[in-house]
């Protein structure tokens, strides 16, 4: 299965390597660097690269490439999924998964990787178990460890590993028993020039933070379970009970976890809670273009739009922009031609707008592509699926 793992940063240096079988020379990554050079964007590096003797499967997260070296047939998703799980674990342990964090905690990283894979086959990937095996570094523990010489490594086999609930350890104790559930819904929509929705999908997740003593067995029922069209569960959820009664019944892992993610099939199109009025024109012959954007909330049921962020890839011909936002800050990168505008909160009384002119390359003809505009926003306390 997974032979070796190389971590490569965005400038193309290998800053960590780990081998589970015999050592594979770093030179195998040259094929990866080649592909990286060829790709115009970091995202465009193909996830699977065949080389004469190995196959490289990589994922890109937090601007770090995790490159796994494979020697024989294995489902590529198996490796990809595992690599993502590794990143999630790092994030869980160190708070962030950056090059610096990994380098700072290289010993913990190594211990983790050692536990997660045996001979290239995943061994323990549940964070509850891993945390029993290897305690996450905290400032306090680091201090204590350096003074007393005690360790980060647990001495006992994690209890969960052997039980039927491998995701939970036994003997959890809390003075305050509490469980929180966050429902996060994302809407993904493509909207055409005239403002009509081409396609919209709602994807939701329920993240849980459960701090309960002992071995709690929880059930969670929904008012309208039929909305959840297609669901995927944390392994702790009993499939059968869901199929039978549409009730979630589970013994939760300890701490934070993603209970389920779901997909809402939209028979009738979703109401997009924001609209954009745009007026972007380039005049033939002149080296000026006009740019005008106005945002407004739409059918938000009284909830405010927050953290609105607009980005747009302007045509290559645009040299610079001279824009004037009515609120927030904007930024134009003349190299990548990426315009981003951090709007912040939308006040329905005073709609934010961004107006101004663009200077185009002199002599170049008017660009014929229409820039696409990406909008990200958040609405608290609102579920789009109803």
């Amino acid at each position: 299965m997974i032979h070796s793992l190389f971590l490569v940063n965005s400038s193309g240096d290998i800053f960590l390597e780990k081998h589970w079988k015999s050592v594979v020379s770093r030179s195998v990554c040259d094929y990866f660097f080649e592909a990286q050079e060829r790709a115009s964007e970091p995202e465009n590096v193909p996830p699977v690269i065949p080389t004469p003797h190995h196959y490289l499967i990589s994922v890109l997260r937090h601007r770090i490439y995790f490159v796994a070296v494979i020697q024989s047939e294995v489902p590529p998703l198996f490796v990809i999924e595992f690599l993502h799980r590794v990143v999630d674990t790092f994030q869980d342990y160190f708070g962030v998964c950056t090059e610096a964090a990994i380098k700072d905690n290289v010993v913990v990283v190594y211990e983790l990787l050692e536990e997660m894979l045996d001979n290239g086959f995943p061994l323990a990937t549940e964070s509850n178990i891993l945390k029993e095996l290897i305690k996450p570094p905290t400032i306090l523990r680091t201090v204590v460890n350096t003074i007393t010489g005690s360790t980060n490594v647990g001495e006992q086999l994690p209890t969960g590993q052997l039980s039927v609930v491998p995701w939970r350890r036994t003997g959890v104790k809390y003075t305050n028993n509490e469980a929180y559930f966050d429902v996060v819904e994302e809407i993904d929509a493509i909207i055409d020039k005239s403002g009509s929705t081409i396609t919209a999908e709602i994807q939701g997740v329920i993240d849980a933070c459960v701090k309960l003593t002992g071995m709690p067995d929880l059930t969670l029922s929904f008012m309208n379970p039929r909305l959840l069209d297609d669901v995927s569960f944390h392994p702790c959820v009993r499939f059968k009970r869901w199929e039978a009664e549409r009730i979630l019944s589970f013994i939760p892992p300890d701490g934070n976890f993603r209970l389920l993610s779901y997909h809402v099939s939209c028979q009738n199109l979703v109401a997009i809670p924001v609209y954009v009025k745009h007026n972007i024109t380039f005049r033939e012959g002149s080296s000026q273009g006009r740019f005008e954007l106005t945002l407004g909330p739409k059918q938000t049921m009284g909830k405010g739009l927050e953290a609105v962020l607009i980005s747009s890839q302007l045509p290559r011909g645009v040299l610079n922009t001279n824009l004037n936002p009515s609120q927030g800050t904007y930024n134009f990168d003349p190299v990548t031609k990426l315009l981003s505008w951090d709007v912040g909160k939308i006040n329905p009384q005073k709609l934010p707008s961004l107006k101004g002119s663009m200077s185009l390359q002199a002599g170049a003809s008017k660009p014929d592509e229409n820039p696409t505009i990406n909008i990200q926003f958040k609405i608290q306390q609102s579920a789009l699926s109803g």
Partner: protein, 1104 residues
């Protein structure tokens, strides 16, 4: 050391080494010179000396600090091998973390320092006997990871011992060790296989995944080892950890392809668009009506499909993908589509996951468009997608395009062409080209669009368009000379060589259509010949030659000039071509033979190029594999074998010791149905069969104290278990019991009573399955004996059920009703048929039994129907059949019809009608078919002609009739070879609907649109005890094929449906008022039907 370091340096460019230095300083802040040793070997040595000292000191904390730094070195890929002696001394340390770090070091360097590594072996051997399982396991892990050939015997011994360890964790480790040992020394294969065989029998979910992995690595061809463990693996599957699931599923896929016969039917009765298959319906399928189809799915095959299905909801994308590929490669064609939704869901995952999933969808969509067509919008490209994802989506959109949706697809493509990502825009143009060739209706539109693109400013877009236009024109060159002219005009502005070459080629090929322009183009080319790219030059030579042949008067000199230029070109290809052309076309004395044919050689009609998907041939690789992704065979790829023509002996999977095959077959059939054995209670459910499941499910719906029943049937299941299996399987069931009891058993008892919806769920798809009736029995048919036996069994099951419990007498009653009818039916047919052919009997019986039973169940627990939106299954299927042709008038042929209330599979606007034909005469009736019909415009889908109906035999056929939303009778002639009889089918208004489910909100919204003229209402009086929801929904469902809309209020019941023909929405509201009156309101734009329905409902509810 030296060589290693230099090696490292050679890989790092300057920036790399710099950052490495930084790293070193960050990780080891206490050491002043750690990591600064690149290139300065003296420093390196010094640092290592430093570490050596620390390692040899007495203080644990110093040692630990040193080891941490050493690990830091290893992580950076630096060489620390010279510390080996110092490190290995610490292998016996008491400090666990230190020990672990030493292990890390050992595993990394043991191969290089074999002699020294041996020093540590005795420590591991001791640790293997440690009472702590964690220590035993980690000792085995490290021992087997040390790749030193000398210790192979020690490893072998350790593995064998660990394989029978008490702790499943250690056994799991031993399974991993098997693979390591095998990669070290292949000679141990036979011994290792023995261990694998032993571990395969292990019943721990922890071990299963790892041992199957070892199996795949060491002896994937020893399929025989799996036989005995097949069912256990299937049943354990849900509880195995995710990674193990992936491995087991892919192994079982391979296994199943060698052991079962193909479920893919040869005949094309069900086209790929059929989306109605749900495997739960298989019970019904098997029972409903055995036709003369030889295929019956092996119960073990079914078991596998059934147990993998829940895993489609796994959060692990690899698991979902592997289940999807299992269904793709193993499931009957009509069941594959259940994976669609899950695959589409994966598209919301990480980019890399999307990439792989889209690749697989691309492969699938070529073969089975229908699977993904409803989800087409999910494949629309987003501006944030990476390029390779965009092109994959494009690929899929192209494959999915058909006559119906091509306009939307093309509109999407139009936007894509304008994308700033030029690579993607070029891909889009190719996709348009493919659509144009695939769908002849839009060829012209596409061509025009592409011509417009020729004036685009971007070069790549223009070039790509030219190339695609060339290909398109080649497929239909007749009437497009103006396009060629247009392209000739553009020629000067296009600089991309491939596009120029394409235009030149077009000119040459169709020079007769543009006689004036072609020579002119050639003239221009002659001028610029020397500065052109090679490919353009070659085409210029070609053009010259062709023009010379067709129009030598004008172009003779030009051609010669070009040929001369070509003669002295730097590229030898062009020189060769020039020489060849000159000899071919310019007449001279010596080679007249060939030049005679020059015209034919150069201007031969050429076949049009095929624009095909790049994913067309990927299906030779198993989906979801690495080989599929890279489209070449990866090392270690195991071919998926073809289905065997004849299934190998299935009894090899039987774990029974002694029992005649004939006896176990039915019982096996039952196990086949068993759900994943998550708990023993589930087992109880499944073992006792679907029929019983339905029974108990419905009967226990309100049954709080079902303990007596439960214990009874529990015992029953035990009995069955033991009868069906040896001690072995008993053990396994108890094992699974044990493992699950901790988590579930307590709640399970209580849960049981609420299990009802499951039954409903399992039932509904059948009902919905428009075609299932037609299809149903194909699989089962061959073995009527088996069927009847199990039928009788399940009958008795149902009886025990209905006996138990007091609160569901009502249901027992309702259950009894259909049963009585079944019996009478059966008796009748027995009387009629004597003992001629048993098959039709079962057929008749089952076809009537199941829908009615179904209907009952549905009717019972209707109130909280949960299902998908849109057309749902009928809530109730009346078993009432009407006479179509009496046997007296029909001269021995009698016919009855009934409305199964299924969506018609022939055409959605039709109502499906089930007709039972019986021959009561004493001679066979031949060629029964449908003749003239009136009114003539009546749209009927006839059943296939029944070639011959033996005396006393009967057959059930299906036809579809488009009643055009009226209750006007359909008149037609039922013909035999000799006679024809006029018959008519009169539908009740309620049968013309199809139920739909919607939310209350939607219901109100729809209702709001259908007021005034479209509303009709009436108030009736009804008996007080019927004021609860269930008795209301039942008569309504009996009268009309409507779906229940979940209602927030207790006293308002809503039903929704649509008319079959026009799809007009029909909404029924029953509002219960005080003093046992009820207000019925019907909203529909078909006001005639509305009032008829109202009348029927009034009658039915007043009765109730």
């Amino acid at each position: 050391m030296l060589s290693m370091s230099t090696n490292n340096l050679s890989y790092n460019d300057q920036g790399g080494t710099d950052s490495a230095v930084e790293v070193g300083q960050e990780t080891t802040p206490t050491s002043s010179n750690a990591g600064a040793g690149f290139g300065l070997f003296s420093v390196d040595f010094k640092k290592n000396d430093d570490l050596k000292e620390m390692l040899e000191s007495n203080k644990e904390s110093l040692k630990l600090e040193a080891m941490k730094r050493v690990v830091g070195l290893i992580a950076k890929g630096k060489n620390a091998s010279e510390l080996f002696p110092a490190v290995v001394k610490n292998v016996a340390s008491k400090n666990i973390e230190l020990k672990k770090l030493v292990y890390v070091y050992l595993v990394r360097y043991a191969e290089e320092q074999q002699d020294l590594a041996l020093l540590s072996i005795s420590t591991f051997q001791r640790a293997l006997k440690d009472p702590n399982q964690l220590i035993r396991a980690s000792a085995l892990r490290v021992l087997s990871s040390i790749r030193v050939p000398i210790i192979v015997p020690i490893m072998m011994l350790a593995i064998k011992e660990a394989a029978s360890d008490m702790s499943p964790y250690v056994r799991k480790t031993s399974a991993h060790a098997i693979q390591k040992l095998y990669s070290l020394d292949q000679d141990q294969k036979d011994l290792l296989i023995e261990v694998i065989e032993k571990l395969l029998k292990d019943k721990s979910t922890l071990v299963a995944g790892s041992v199957v992995m070892a199996f795949e690595e060491v002896c994937p061809d020893r399929i025989d080892l799996i036989h005995k463990n097949y069912r256990k693996l299937c049943n354990l599957l849900v509880d195995v950890e995710e990674w193990g699931q992936v491995v087991i599923i892919s192994m079982l896929t391979r296994y199943a392809r060698t052991q079962f016969t193909s479920p893919w039917k040869e005949d094309g009765v069900f086209d790929e668009h059929s989306e109605r298959a749900f495997y739960e319906s298989d019970e019904e399928k098997t029972r409903n009506e055995p036709e003369a189809k030889p295929y019956m799915m092996d119960p073990d095959h079914r078991l596998l499909l059934r147990n993998t299905k829940p895993l489609l909801q796994s959060r692990n994308t690899a698991v979902v993908m592997s289940v999807a590929q299992l269904y793709w490669h193993l499931a009957p064609k009509n069941e594959v589509s259940i994976v669609t939704k899950s695959l589409v869901r994966l598209l919301r995952s990480h980019r890399e996951v999307q990439y792989i999933v889209l690749q697989n969808i691309a492969s699938m969509s070529i073969q089975r468009k229908g699977m993904f067509e409803p989800y087409m919008k999910s494949f629309y490209v987003r501006s944030t997608d990476a390029t390779h994802i965009k092109s994959l989506k494009l690929e899929i959109l192209t494959s999915l395009a058909n006559e119906a949706n091509i306009s939307t697809v093309l509109r999407e493509f139009q936007t894509y062409v304008k994308s700033q990502d030029k690579e993607f825009a070029a891909g889009t143009i190719q996709a348009i080209g493919r659509c144009a060739t695939n769908i002849s209706e839009v060829t012209d539109t596409c061509l025009n669009g592409l011509v417009l693109l020729l004036s685009n400013r971007d070069e790549t877009v223009v070039a790509e368009s030219v190339v695609v236009i060339r290909k398109l024109l080649q497929t239909q060159p007749t009437q497009h000379s103006d396009i060629i002219k247009h392209m000739a005009k553009l020629f000067d502005n296009i600089t991309v060589p491939m596009a120029r070459a394409s235009i030149l080629w077009l000119m040459g090929e169709y020079c007769e259509r543009v006689p004036k322009i072609a020579p002119d183009v050639l003239r221009k080319m002659a001028k610029s010949f020397t500065s052109e790219e090679d490919i353009v030059k070659l085409q210029t030579v070609n053009l010259a030659a062709k023009l010379y042949l067709t129009n030598s008067k004008q172009t003779k000199l030009l051609t010669q000039y070009i040929l001369n230029l070509g003669k002295y070109d730097q590229n030898y290809d062009i020189r060769d071509r020039t020489r060849f052309i000159r000899q071919l076309i310019v007449p001279n004395d010596k080679n007249g033979a060939l030049s005679k044919y020059a015209h034919r050689i150069l201007l031969a009609p050429k076949p049009a190029p095929l624009l095909e998907s790049a994913y067309k041939d990927r299906d030779r690789y198993q989906l979801g594999t690495l080989s599929h992704t890279i489209n070449t065979k990866a090392s270690g790829y195991l071919e998926l074998s073809d289905w065997p023509a004849v299934a190998p002996d299935q009894s090899v999977r039987n774990v029974e010791v002694i029992e005649p095959v004939k006896e176990w077959a039915p019982s096996l059939w039952k196990t086949g149905k068993s759900k994943p054995a998550k708990s023993s209670d589930d087992k109880f459910y499944s073992d006792s069969g679907e029929e019983e499941e339905e029974g108990s499910g419905s009967s226990s719906s309100e049954d709080g104290s079902s303990s007596s029943e439960e214990s009874g049937s529990d015992a029953e299941s035990r009995v069955e278990n033991s009868s069906q299996s040896s001690e072995e399987s008993d053990e396994s069931s108890s094992q699974s019991e044990k493992s699950s009891s901790e988590s579930e058993s307590d709640s399970e008892k209580k849960k049981r009573k609420t299990k009802t919806p499951l039954q409903k769920k399992t039932v509904k798809p059948t009902a919905k399955d428009g075609d299932s009736d037609g299809n149903v029995a194909k699989e089962a048919s061959s073995s009527s004996a088996e069927e009847s036996s199990s039928d009788s069994e399940s009958d008795s099951d149902a009886h025990t059920d209905s006996d138990s419990g007091t609160e569901h007498k009502k249901k027992t009653k309702s259950k009894a009703k259909p049963k009585v009818e079944v019996k009478s039916k059966k008796e009748v047919s027995l009387l009629d048929l004597g003992d001629f052919t048993p098959a039709p009997v079962t057929q008749l019986k089952s076809s009537i039994l199941s829908p009615s039973l179904l209907g009952d169940l549905e009717g019972m627990s209707l109130s909280n129907v949960s299902s998908t939106i849109q057309v749902s299954g009928p809530a109730f299927v009346p078993e009432k059949s009407h006479d179509l042709l009496h046997r007296m008038t029909g001269k021995g042929l009698s016919a009855q019809y009934q409305f199964p209330r299924q969506p018609c599979l022939y055409q959605p606007t039709m109502v499906s009608v089930q007709i039972s034909l019986t021959n009561t005469s004493d001679h066979p009736l031949e060629q029964i078919h449908i003749g003239d019909r009136s009114p003539t415009g009546l749209n009927i889908h006839c059943f296939n002609t029944v070639e011959c109906l033996e005396p006393e035999a009967s057959v059930t056929v299906f036809m579809g009739i488009d009643f055009n939303d009226s209750t006007q009778a359909a008149n037609f002639q039922l013909c035999t070879k000799e006679d024809h009889f006029s018959v008519s089918i009169q539908p009740a208004v309620g049968d013309l609907f199809l139920p739909i489910t919607m939310t209350e909100l939607d219901f109100r919204k729809e209702q709001g649109k259908l007021l005034g003229m479209n509303e009709s209402s009436a108030t009736i009086t009804m008996a007080a005890e019927n004021m609860t929801s269930q008795p209301i929904s039942r008569p309504v469902a009996t009268v009309a094929n409507l779906g229940v809309v979940p209602s927030g209020q207790d006293d308002i019941h809503r039903f929704a449906g649509k008319t079959a023909s026009s799809g007009a929405v029909v909404l029924v509201t029953v509002e219960l008022r005080e003093s046992s009156t009820a207000l019925i309101t019907i909203n529909t734009e078909k006001s005639v039907m509305g009032s008829m329905l109202l009348r029927d409902l009034k009658q039915a509810l007043a009765q109730a």
